[in-house]
Amino acid sequence: MSNLKGRNLISITDFNKEEYLQILDIAEGFEKNPKQPILNDKVVATLFFEPSTRTRLSFESAANQLGARVIGFSNPAATSASKGESLHDTITMVSSYSDLIVMRNPIEGSSRYASEVASVPVINAGDGANQHPTQCMLDLYSIRKTQGTLDNLQIALVGDLKYGRTVHSLVQAMCNFNATFHLVSPTELKLPSSVKMSIKEAGLKYYQYTDIKDIIGVADIIYMTRVQRERFPDLMEYERVKDSCILTADILKGCKENMRILHPLPRVNEITTDVDATPYAYYFQQAQNGVYVRQALMSAILGVR
């Protein structure tokens, strides 16, 4: 077991495979018993330089259930950063008030920089289009929980595979576990070649499709993302392809019994509500798992697990 005390989590590549598994094991303990006063002498700072209610509440709920005090801000307009204070100065100040910093900031690379400035560990809660490693870890947790393993799975990724950062991180992470990837997207939104390259470099296989119906029978996990109209320069093209990445209860007939559907949320219309009542829907539990994974990360980094 490696000691994660004092470590930063900025990018998914900051932890190795064993360290991920270690966090997932700790998170299982919190799922069984989420309220444990093990951080009651700690202060966690949540610095949200852009609003993200879902992620912030998940971190704050995780910290509160472990007894930590939470300080921070969720509205950058109310902070000194809006008066022109440098990130360097804000982080230096907050370091002296807290034991751990959780930061979300639309500026890419800001979390890595904050971790170099801060005298306490930093967890990246999203830096623009770059990284959002705790989302990736809760995805891994959800996959392991529903499949009993992370190894040798058939992973289908559906929707906007070009811009979806959660998709890129998940592919990178699953490359450690001998996955086979089934990539479903409109041609305009295919997985970038750099990410496909990492699949090849890991010696693994991927297959590309344009219609979700083609992967229903093979997938162990269907990871859904939203296809945004703004991504299409041509509205006609959007209208033509938009239904090919929508999951309905009807389409699900013929899927594997163990198959589960994940989605980073919020969803719009890419999963119709009639799917919610099927045994395959897992996206709401997935969000719930985020709290256990964040509890595991905070307690490991603060050295109490």
Binding site: S11, S86, H88, I107, R112, Y113
Partner: protein
């Protein structure tokens, strides 16, 4: 050597040869030679076997560390460094692209922290033959085509 000495010889110092003609001024800037107070001799558009038209810079009484000089490999990958003492060549080698690059290249990503806060840039060179630099902060790739230098 004699044939190459189109620009007059120096007694002691460094000769940087085989610079592409259009990169001579970039090399001067990268090495901070605008501020150098001793003699600097500059030749451009010289005939060359290795390059169609080459540039050459001779810097009197100045020797560089590898770290100082290797950054010019980004704009002049075929450059040769010649150390001169008493009009004699005492060392000759080609520049090498370093593994890490700090400070003088800009990140191509306008949303990168290095372009939005006062943060010096840092890159890992992920491909030396087809120049690719990965930003230490935003993780985006800067290529030869998107490369700009800091002021």
């Amino acid at each position: 050597m004699k044939k190459e000495l189109v620009v007059s010889a120096i007694e002691n110092g460094t000769v940087i040869d085989h610079i592409p003609s259009n990169a001579v001024y970039q090399v001067i800037r990268l090495l901070g030679l605008e501020k150098y107070e001793d003699e600097v001799l500059i030749g451009t558009n010289l005939k060359s076997e290795k390059l169609l038209r080459k540039g050459i810079i001779k810097i009197k009484n100045k020797y560089f560390t590898n770290q100082e000089i290797n950054k010019i490999a980004l704009v002049a990958p075929a450059a040769t460094l010649i150390k001169i003492e008493n009009y004699e060549v005492i060392d000759k080698r080609e520049v090498e692209i370093p593994d890490h690059i700090e400070n003088f290249v800009k990140c191509m990503n306008p949303k990168c922290v290095t372009n939005n806060e006062v943060v010096p840039t840092r890159f890992n060179v992920v491909d030396k033959s087809d120049l690719k630099l990965r930003c230490h902060y935003c993780e985006k790739i800067t290529t030869k085509e998107t490369m700009r230098f800091t002021e």
